[in-house]
């Protein structure tokens, strides 16, 4: 049997009552789908249950990759493929020349870490030129804070009350959709 989900927007003019509403929603067991705001709000992650991002770890991995690639490149070009004797300082082994290789190893580490992380960020958030704006209401980039809920019949009424109590400027029911159950247990014959 299909269940109905209601899309509800709670629009606030300030972050303090909005956070209050989110806290109440969570304590009544209502899941906050997302919050759209004009600026980052500190402390919201814990309240609405956004897990800590792991994007910094990817930067570390990209950095290590860059470091490795630069080492490999310089070893190949300077030591293995065409060793030169520059100013009486021959390139016989990588470790002899390490001091001279440090700057480029560092630059390459930073290059890969920064660009790799930035690309991962853009792809993970799907920030691609030409894609449609992801905020459901254009005022959220200006001065409005929007709490987005997608909840069932029972929770919808309760959520709207919580929004009004906390001081929402608008509570909009933006429509509903049906969710078909993923698995149907058929009766045995």
């Amino acid at each position: 049997m299909a269940t109905v989900k209601h899309i509800i927007h709670g629009v606030f003019g300030d972050e303090v009552p909005m956070l209050e509403a989110c806290k109440k929603l969570r304590s009544s067991g209502i899941r906050v789908k997302d919050v759209y705001s004009p600026m980052p709000i500190h402390g919201i992650d814990g309240i609405i249950g956004v897990p800590r991002t792991r994007i910094a770890i990817t930067a570390f991995i990209y950095g290590l990759t860059g470091c490795g690639l630069a080492t490999l490149m310089m070893w190949y070009m300077m030591i293995s493929d065409w060793p030169n004797d520059i100013g009486g300082k021959p390139n016989w082994a990588y470790y002899f020349n390490i001091p001279a290789f440090i700057p480029i190893t560092f630059e390459s580490t930073v290059f890969c870490a920064a660009h790799g992380m930035a690309l991962t960020y853009l792809l993970r958030c799907w920030l691609i030129p030409g894609t449609k704006a992801k905020n459901p209401d254009p005022r959220t980039t200006d001065d409005k804070f929007l709490v987005l809920l997608e909840v069932g019949d029972a929770q919808a009424a309760k959520a709207q009350d919580i929004f009004r109590e906390a001081g929402a400027e608008e509570v909009n029911h933006k429509g509903s959709y049906e969710v078909q159950p993923k698995y149907v247990i058929e009766e045995s014959h």
């Binding site: 709000i41 930067a59 020349n97 700057p103 390459s108 870490a113 958030c125 704006a133 992801k134």
Partner: protein
């Protein structure tokens, strides 16, 4: 929410709301440009045209068109390169180092300082790419497989380190800048009405929506990029100084160069930020965001870095004497008393003496005085690079190679051209891009806004 001490001077003046910030930042984009803007951009574009002509002439006939000679083989080209790259450093310092130190006053100036960085690095790139003599072969600077063996670039050379450092710096700065711009472009996209503007800012905003998950990643990415850019900015100017310091030229072969160059870069960069911001805040009426307090903070950075630069100049002199190396001693004697001594004393006056005037509170909080001194420092820092390069090369080891130096019309043209290009880009930026990081600024409105602070004090 973060509370701030009452005695701290507010960073956003006036009775501002989130909406007011949006309105103030979008005003230049929605409104018509003032006549001053048109006048300035026409002047800059004409200078740029002269530069393009001089550039084309140089590519056509070779760098013999410059004043450089056999002994003075680096002159205005590298002077201008180091000057521009140094100017760029303040942008990264403001957006990255001050972010790590959680200095909130950076938010009013970081966007335009970063824009300045990117345009300055573009100007710097013109000189390094051109000074190779055959700029169409500049791809050889990169380790690309080729038909000469393959013959690889020399990874032991600071000149090659510079290629990697400057290209990393330029690209990372652009990425850092654009990631910060995305939410602000989204704000503009959601506000403008004209179809071409909606399309233009829609493309630039990458579909940003400002969801909590995206903000959380945004903040982490900004922090890590700041952490990466901080050592990067120090490495870039250190490596620029290695171009000189690893040579055996007396007057260049000194270990003080990296810290001396980095502090000089920050010094000149802050001066340029001041020059630009004082104009921008006037043209666009941003007095409530770029306040006297902001100007004072920047002037304090100028006192600190200017003093470091002054100490470095004196240390150089002392070490030259103390080393007992005659060539080293003569290099400095020649700078201070030789045929180009006037440039040395301009440098000393502008960089060592003038920033010390900011110890007087009345002067460092005066807009006119700050503007004048900022230009004096810009000039002084250009002369610093000139003094390091030209008088030194005029008189090296062999007196029979000694000579003088005069820049050619083409030298002047390319330099003025880069100033024109920089100005044109900056004016376009200030007209079509959000000049203040408004999303970031909104995060400190509650704690550092004038009206909000007063109200909080009232409640206690």
């Amino acid at each position: 929410m973060h509370a701030e001490s009452e005695i701290r001077i507010p960073l956003i003046l006036g009775n501002k709301s989130y909406r007011n910030i949006t309105d103030d930042i979008i005003a230049p984009i929605e409104g018509k440009a003032k006549r001053g803007w048109y006048t300035l951009i026409i002047i800059c574009a004409i200078c740029w045209l002269w530069g393009i002509g001089a550039l084309a002439y140089t590519i056509g006939v070779g760098i013999g068109a410059w004043g450089s000679s056999n002994n003075v083989d680096w002159a205005w080209d590298i002077t201008n390169f180091v000057w521009w790259i140094g100017i760029g450093h303040a942008g990264t310092l403001i957006s990255a180092v001050l972010l790590l130190f959680r200095q909130k006053w950076r938010m009013a100036i970081n966007r335009s300082a970063e824009a300045m960085t990117i345009f300055a690095v573009l100007c710097a790139a013109i000189f390094v790419l051109l000074h190779t003599g055959r700029p169409w072969l500049d791809y050889m600077l990169f380790p690309l497989p080729n038909q000469f063996g393959s013959l690889w670039p020399n990874f032991n050379s600071p000149l090659l380190w510079d290629v990697f450092a400057v290209s990393t710096y330029a690209t990372v700065s652009i990425v850092f800048w654009h990631i910060g711009l995305i939410p602000d472009f989204a704000m503009i996209r959601d506000r403008v009405i004209k179809p071409w503007q909606k399309k233009f800012y829609g493309l630039l905003s990458f579909g940003w929506g400002g969801s909590a998950r995206h903000w959380s990643r945004f903040e982490e990415v900004s922090l890590v990029l700041a952490g990466l850019s901080t050592p990067l900015v120090f490495s870039v100017h250190s490596i620029v100084s290695f171009d000189f310091a690893t040579s055996v030229v007396p007057g260049w072969h000194t270990t003080i160069f990296p810290p001396y160059f980095v502090s000089g870069a920050v010094f000149s960069g802050f001066a340029m930020v001041l020059t630009l911001m004082l104009v921008v805040r006037k043209i666009y009426g941003l007095e409530h965001y770029v306040t006297i307090k902001h100007i004072e903070y920047m002037n304090i950075v100028i006192i600190v870095t200017g003093s470091i630069v002054g100490v470095a100049y004196l240390t150089e002199l002392f070490v030259a004497w103390y080393s007992g190396v005659e060539w080293e001693q003569y290099a400095f004697l020649n700078r201070a008393t030789g045929p180009l001594a006037w440039s040395y004393w301009i440098m000393m006056g502008c960089n060592v003496f003038s920033p010390q005037l900011f110890w007087v509170k009345k002067w460092r909080t005066s807009i006119t005085f700050t503007f004048v001194i900022s230009i004096v420092i810009n000039i002084g820092m250009w002369f610093e690079r000139f003094v390091i390069i030209v008088p030194t090369l005029c008189r090296t080891f062999l007196p029979s190679t000694w000579g003088t130096y005069t820049p050619s019309f083409i030298d002047v043209g390319i330099f003025v051209g880069t100033i024109g290009m920089f100005g044109t880009f900056f004016l376009l930026f200030s007209r079509y891009f959000p000049v203040i990081a408004q999303a970031e600024l909104k995060t400190i409105l509650k704690s550092s806004g004038e009206a909000q602070k007063k109200e909080a004090a009232h409640h206690h």
